[in-house]
């Protein structure tokens, strides 16, 4: 009979999380013993009818109370700090990550690799490399959860969320939607394939992809009319997008914002909410005209031209 007690440890975060978990288990066992051994002892020794010394002691109540308040508080703060440290590391991705997009919709997961490979309900990744997922929802709140990696992140409509991990073992692991999202929430799951690096490259190549994500984005850029204003237009004065990604942008309200994924998304869907200094709020919104997949492709394109130098102003 198989009595599994915890999932495989298949990521760097998994080992760290399990360490805290075991420490908490140990602490819990200790506290349970500390409370229940005396309690059971008292229940037996001071049972009504049994001979025992029941003369009331004059105990220093306040000192005792303070002691058993302060010590648990210190232990609690210690665990908090440990958990917060691991959490911080889990939530802030390192610099060089393999970036993959995940779009959740009722009730399936669509995965897009930068190379252009698309998957549904499956995620192929190489082992021992930090992977960063950019998550988007087409409808309601979902959550992308890989128990073997001990990582999850809610996928919230109207924004991008990110999740990173570094797999440490080749193998297959389940992933689930862990935020209730409607009728077939239970079915919204899949498999992560962690592969040796060469196997991963082979898998990518086998995909027979025509366009990388950025190339699809470029096609969209033209098809949706973005180039009409943003590329050397004589009619409309629109901010150039080359070299924009991750730069500081001056806004019309005299503040600055960094041109990250969130900024690019908001600029496409809610263009009048943050207007670049020196420009008019003329850009139409693409809300309802573009899907989350397409949005991610556009952003991939904009990232790809992010290293270019912007054209000189005429």
């Amino acid at each position: 009979m198989n009595f599994p007690l915890f999932p495989q440890e298949a990521s760097t975060a998994a080992a760290q999380t399990d360490h805290i978990y075991f420490a908490l288990l140990g602490l819990s066992a200790f506290i349970l013993a500390l409370v229940f051994l005396p309690m059971i002892f008292f229940l037996f020794k001071y049972r009504s009818g049994k001979i025992a010394n029941r003369a009331q002691l004059n105990l220093p109540t306040n000192k005792i109370e303070v002691t058993w308040t302060v010590i648990p508080t210190l232990i609690a703060l210690g665990i908090f700090a440990w958990g917060a440290k691991v959490y911080f590391d889990e939530e802030v991705p390192p610099a060089n990550t393999l970036e993959i997009n995940v779009v959740g919709k009722q009730w399936m997961w669509k995965i897009q690799h930068q190379e252009g490979n698309h998957e549904i309900n499956e995620l192929h990744i190489p082992v021992n490399r930090a992977v960063k997922l950019t998550l988007a929802s087409e409808d309601v709140i979902h959550s992308f959860y890989i128990p073997a990696f001990r990582i999850k992140q809610d996928v919230v409509p109207g924004r991008f969320t990110t999740e990173w991990f570094q797999p440490t073992r080749v193998g297959t692991y389940r992933f689930y939607c862990s935020e209730y999202c409607g009728t077939d929430h239970s079915k919204m799951q899949g498999i992560v394939f962690v592969m040796k690096p060469q196997d991963y490259e082979n898998w990518l190549a086998r995909g027979n992809v025509r366009n990388t994500l950025a190339q699809s984005g470029e096609n969209l850029f033209r098809r949706l009319g973005c180039s009409g204003c943003h590329v050397n237009s004589n009619v409309i004065h629109a901010p150039p997008l080359e070299g924009l990604y991750e730069k500081l942008v001056p806004l019309s309200d005299k503040t600055f914002v960094r041109a990250d994924d969130k900024y690019l998304r908001d600029s496409i869907l809610l263009p009048t909410s943050q207007v670049v200094a020196g420009y008019q709020p003329l850009m139409p919104t693409y809300e309802g005209r573009i899907s989350e997949d397409e949005l991610l492709q556009l952003i991939a394109y904009l990232k790809s031209i992010g290293k270019e130098t912007p054209p000189k102003k005429p």
């Binding site: 309200d253 809610l270 009048t272 909410s273 709020p281 919104t285």
Partner: protein
């Protein structure tokens, strides 16, 4: 002293305990109302932070004339209410009735003015949804969503207040209140003043923000 005894409900020891309980009860109820409206004010603050310009654009389209008239009406009604309470403390039944009814009249005027204002808002396409004024930014719809709900909820509280005030006027007419027993009038006053204070917060947030910017 049987007359005195019938003023004090049987669960209380004496009139003083009854009055203290009534007052504490109304203050506690007002605390719940603060939390109720508080959620709305919090949400408004959050979105005003996100969409400052859209909110500014929206608030230019609320009618400050109507808003100011209503503020004056409501403040005056608080004054008449306070007078009613004063007369209750000295047991002047006729004057209690007069000032309670005056308060009801002013409250009804408030609602009437609000009705005219709502009508104009609808004509000016300030209702969020597909018919919203296209010249305004999209997020101004969020501003107006708050406008309609906050003023609407406030109006519901005024309406309930009018009911309570009328009931108090009716009781006052039947000489139920005296120098020894007038806490119902006092706590009605507390409620009415609270509703007035809520308006005093709504008014600047919905009418005055960035008006001349």
């Amino acid at each position: 002293m049987l007359e005195r005894h019938s003023i004090v409900a049987e669960q209380f020891e004496d009139a003083e305990q009854q009055s203290a309980a009534a007052h504490l009860g109304m203050w506690t109820f007002i605390a719940t109302e603060v939390l109720f409206f508080g959620g709305l004010f919090l949400a408004y603050t959050v979105y005003r932070h996100f969409y400052f310009d859209a909110f500014a654009a929206g608030s230019k389209h609320t009618d400050a004339v109507y808003g100011t008239i209503n503020s004056v009406i409501l403040l005056t009604s608080s004054f008449t209410m306070a007078l009613a309470v004063q007369f209750a403390k000295i047991g002047r039944a006729k004057l209690i009735v007069r000032f309670l009814l005056l308060t009801v009249f002013l409250g009804a005027m408030f609602l009437a003015v609000k009705g005219f204002e709502y009508h104009e808002d609808i004509v000016k396409h300030l209702v969020p949804g597909p018919n919203f004024d296209p010249s305004l930014p999209l997020q101004s719809q969020i501003f107006f969503w708050f406008y309609w709900i906050m003023t609407g909820l406030h109006a519901v509280h005024i309406l309930i207040g009018l009911g309570v005030l009328s009931a108090m006027a009716f009781l006052a007419r039947r000489e139920k209140f005296s120098a020894q027993y007038h806490s119902p009038v006092e706590i009605t006053g507390l409620y009415w003043h609270f509703v007035d204070i809520v308006w005093l917060f709504l008014y600047p947030l919905l009418y005055l923000v960035q008006r001349h910017a």
